[in-house]
């Protein structure tokens, strides 16, 4: 099961936070140059579209390489992504059963990094959006509702996963 994200993670043992920081380090100068050229709103819209397309495509391609049902593909990716990302957060599991998984993240080092950098929207695109792209792999078998995130400035991220009966 592990290994499904090896190509994306490059070095599966390394910290996802360190990797994301490296990625931000090269993206931010280009992002800021784009804003100087196009204005903030247009530049941010371009960046958003490019990074959303990238993230959706990334997890869809990973899913294509996994055998089994959409629910199984989701679980395979979520297991690895959840493990590498959970090292950087503090969380409480509120509910965990066949129908639902409710998690409140109460501290997030990704959010701390991107908020200190003044680029929480970039952080949301690089990290927070992945959760929904991974859910999309489940093709309806898994739903996610998350009304707030620390990256956006809320005190916690409220992950509410719902599973359709098998």
């Amino acid at each position: 099961m592990s290994g499904v994200l090896d190509d994306y993670l490059v070095d599966p043992e390394g910290s996802l936070l360190d990797k994301t920081r490296m990625q931000a380090q090269v993206l931010v100068p280009v992002l800021r140059a784009l804003r100087a050229e196009l204005g903030k709103d247009r530049a941010d819209a371009v960046v958003k579209q490019a990074l959303r397309d990238w993230s959706k495509q990334l997890f869809a391609t990973i899913a294509d390489g996994i055998e089994g049902s959409p629910r199984h593909k989701w679980a395979a990716i979520q297991k690895v992504f959840g493990e590498v990302s959970s090292r950087e957060v503090e969380f409480e599991i509120r509910r965990d059963d066949e129908e639902a998984l409710d998690i409140d993240v109460t501290r997030c080092r990704f959010a701390e990094f991107f908020r200190a950098l003044g680029e929480p929207e970039l952080g949301a695109l690089l990290i927070c959006a992945a959760d929904f792209d991974i859910v999309a792999v489940g093709d309806g078998a898994v739903g996610l509702d998350r009304v707030q995130t620390i990256m956006q400035g809320a005190p916690s991220c409220t992950f509410r996963y719902r599973f359709t009966p098998r």
Partner: protein
């Protein structure tokens, strides 16, 4: 939380590239080749100059230090290097295998590799020691059989 994790330079460039390459590719589709090239060149130059200054601090801002930089690039199997000649005022080496180029070529984006990766080296030298310069007539990324790095103390 650490600034430097124990990974090779090749891994670092791959990690950056996982997002940066598709992002720049999307910009090319949106804005066209020329404007994207300008945008990327300025950003890459400033990053590379900063890398050069950091490596000069780590290894010393001289030819010996540049040799250490080349060894850093080669770490983790990133490049196979044949040193032709080294003295106090110059360092000549050929890169005979380049996994950075292989990474871009596997993605079908060797032209982008030249812009994002190879073009860094001249700006890096400026940040490293602006009394030194690099000439390089060919690269593996651009299709040659080797990259001919020739570092010289400026006249």
């Amino acid at each position: 939380m650490t600034d430097e994790i124990a990974i090779s330079h090749l891994q670092r460039r791959k990690i950056e590239g996982r997002v940066f390459i598709p992002f720049i590719d999307a910009c090319r589709e949106k804005f066209g080749e020329g404007p994207t090239r300008e945008l990327v060149a300025a950003a890459i130059c400033s990053l590379a100059t900063a890398d050069g200054a950091r490596w000069a601090d780590m290894f010393g801002a001289d030819i010996d230090g540049l040799r250490r930089v080349a060894e850093l690039w080669a770490g983790g199997g990133g490049m196979e290097v044949e040193v032709i000649d080294q003295a106090v005022d110059h360092l000549d080496f050929n890169v005979t295998r380049c996994r950075y180029a292989e990474f871009y070529k596997e993605l079908g984006l060797a032209d982008l590799g030249s812009q994002i990766h190879c073009s860094r080296d001249h700006a890096m030298v400026e940040g490293f020691n602006d009394g030194l310069e690099l000439t390089r007539s060919q690269t593996i990324m651009a299709g040659a059989s080797c990259c001919d790095f020739r570092f010289r103390r400026k006249a």
